[in-house]
């Protein structure tokens, strides 16, 4: 399949889907993660367990949910638990292999900001409280992410690549990546590994061993280093063994498009479950 036959968004979703292993348990954020997680389930990972914060365990929706708690999620689930139980027993209890998150902003240490874009963020010396008191854009807030990121065994992040989203320091650390200095998880035995992979419409990034700075490990087909550098708000580095991401397969494209088609059909009905 040539690069003309799929969009950058599809490339992102398919690459994110591939990051999920069959047989793993995945706590799924809404939006991009949900799309990729369900694509994984419908393609290479039929036995992946998808868990949503609404309490639905091992859900197999036919269409993508618009919200985190659509009826389809419950109807197709193995079982549905209360939200306190979900966060206490299943997430904090250590039963989640992968937390799969989107975000509005990410920084070089994979910290996530979904709280506030600051009106006048100082270039250095990032301070979340300062940003919070001086909002330019109010974002929806943390939701499940702060504890998914620390209580899941590992985290995968997916978002579109741009200088607005990939910043040197997030205005506000809603959700811990590796902290302002990249070392915030060091020595903390009761929390997970944190972000192991960030998947965008341009590339795949991983935290560098020791520093935990995100570096580009794979470029999507047709994407140049310059494109990534221009879309990244810090002086992003590239792995020595830089890879090219595998092309989407015919089947992956087909499954994804069919999923989006039935989803659009369902959600555009006046009333849909």
């Amino acid at each position: 399949m040539s690069t003309e036959q799929y969009s950058a968004a599809e490339m992102m979703t398919i690459t994110a889907a591939r990051a999920l292993h069959n047989g793993s348990t995945c706590f799924v954020g809404i939006g991009l993660p949900s799309e990729a997680a369900n694509l994984a389930r419908l393609s290479h990972a039929p036995d992946i367990t998808l868990i949503y914060e609404s309490g639905t365990i091992e859900t197999k929706p036919r269409v993508l949910p618009l919200s985190i708690g659509d009826g389809e999620l419950c109807e197709s689930a193995l079982t549905t638990v209360s939200v306190p139980e979900m966060f206490r027993y299943w997430l904090q209890g250590g039963h989640i292999d992968v937390g799969f998150l989107g975000t509005a902003q990410i920084d070089r240490y994979a910290n996530l900001n979904t709280t506030v874009i600051a009106a006048n963020h100082p270039a250095e010396g990032a301070d979340g409280a300062h940003s919070y008191a001086n909002p330019k854009v109010r974002l929806p807030g943390g939701g499940g992410a702060p504890e998914i990121s620390t209580n899941a065994k590992e985290v995968i992040v997916t978002l579109k690549h741009s200088v607005r989203t990939f910043v040197k320091d997030v205005d506000f650390v809603t959700t811990l990546g590796f902290g302002r200095d990249g070392q915030a998880r060091r020595g903390r035995k009761t929390i997970g590994k944190g972000p192991v992979m960030v998947i965008t419409d341009l590339c795949i990034l991983r935290p560098e061993p020791e520093t935990n700075e995100l570096i580009v490990v794979s470029l999507h087909p047709g994407v140049t280093r310059e494109q990534v550098t221009e879309a990244t708000g810090w002086d992003v580095r590239f792995a020595d063994a830089l890879q090219t991401t595998d092309l989407p397969s015919q089947r992956e494209i087909e499954v994804l498009r069919e999923l989006k088609r039935v989803t659009a059909e369902a959600h555009n009905k006046t009333e849909s479950a």
Partner: protein, 271 residues
């Protein structure tokens, strides 16, 4: 002990200006009709607690009922912003709204602690998050056995808890099924609990371990078919996803919102 009443009477009897109120329902079973009735009865200075403020709090905030919002994720799920909430926070329109911001895990634990009669919830949370720096209600405690640092937040104990459920039986026992969210916790932690239901039945038909609230654990029950619309009631009607999308347009400007308020809530068909 549950009293059967009308929604209008239940709100009139229970909700006072200045109350702290939780209207819960995690996407599913959101008590929209009860929210509209609070707007119609023009309650003021409410502190509203809810994990996902959603359209129902956008409406209450836009109608000027609210002075404080406690939440963990404020958006129109899958669609975008809550324009009325943002207008209140950013421009104090129609009134200023103070916010207290948490994570989902914190609020779920705080509801659980409220239902458990505890003063606080203890959980492994907010590790490395700046939310700790902007919310004085997030504190740290240490495990006396392991020394581990854990987060503590105050238990949620609303004056009034309002939920929507599928059904009640004639004795006033209430059954919730499907995505049950934090509703049992709201019912048990609130000083006064109002429940709207789709219908009253002879027999709940509940399994042995179903989510049932005994009649003596709730205070008022009102039958309001469709009371969770545009959210959904599993087994009764689906989520009106289109309405969630249309809300983006209605709520975007003060004019279109106020028109909606006037035409639909005060003088119209909204339940």
């Amino acid at each position: 002990m549950a009293v059967f009443t009308t929604l209008s009477q239940a709100i009139a009897d229970g909700v006072r200006d200045g109350h702290t109120i939780a209207l819960e329902g995690f996407t599913h079973l959101i008590p929209f009709a009860a929210g509209h009735e609070i707007i119609r009865q023009q309650r003021r200075n409410l502190t509203l607690i809810r994990m996902t403020p959603d359209l129902i709090y956008d409406q209450l905030v836009g109608a000027g009922c609210v002075s404080k919002l406690v939440f963990s994720w404020g958006g129109n799920p899958g669609v975008g912003s809550l324009h009325r909430v943002r207008d209140a926070i950013e421009h104090s329109y129609p009134r200023p709204v103070e916010i207290e911001e948490h994570s989902h895990a914190a609020m779920a634990n705080a509801y659980e602690a409220g239902a458990s009669g505890l003063p606080m919830a203890v959980f492994r949370g907010y590790v490395g998050s700046d939310l700790k720096d902007v919310n004085p209600n997030i504190k740290t405690i240490f495990c006396p056995f392991t020394g581990e640092e854990l987060a503590a937040v105050p238990a949620i104990k609303p004056d009034i808890g309002i939920i929507h459920a599928q059904k009640a039986d004639k004795a006033g026992n209430v059954l919730l099924e499907g995505i049950v969210g934090v509703q049992k916790e709201v019912a048990l932690s609130s000083r006064h609990c109002i429940v709207t239901v789709e219908e009253i039945v002879d027999d709940l038909g509940a399994g042995p371990n179903s989510c049932v609230l005994p009649a003596w654990s709730v205070d008022a029950i009102a039958t309001v078919p469709g009371g969770a619309s545009p959210s959904y009631a599993q087994g009764y009607y689906p989520r009106n996803n289109s309405y969630y999308k249309e809300w983006d347009g209605i709520s975007r400007s003060r004019e279109t919102f106020n028109k909606w308020l006037d035409e639909q809530v005060f003088n119209g068909d909204a339940l």
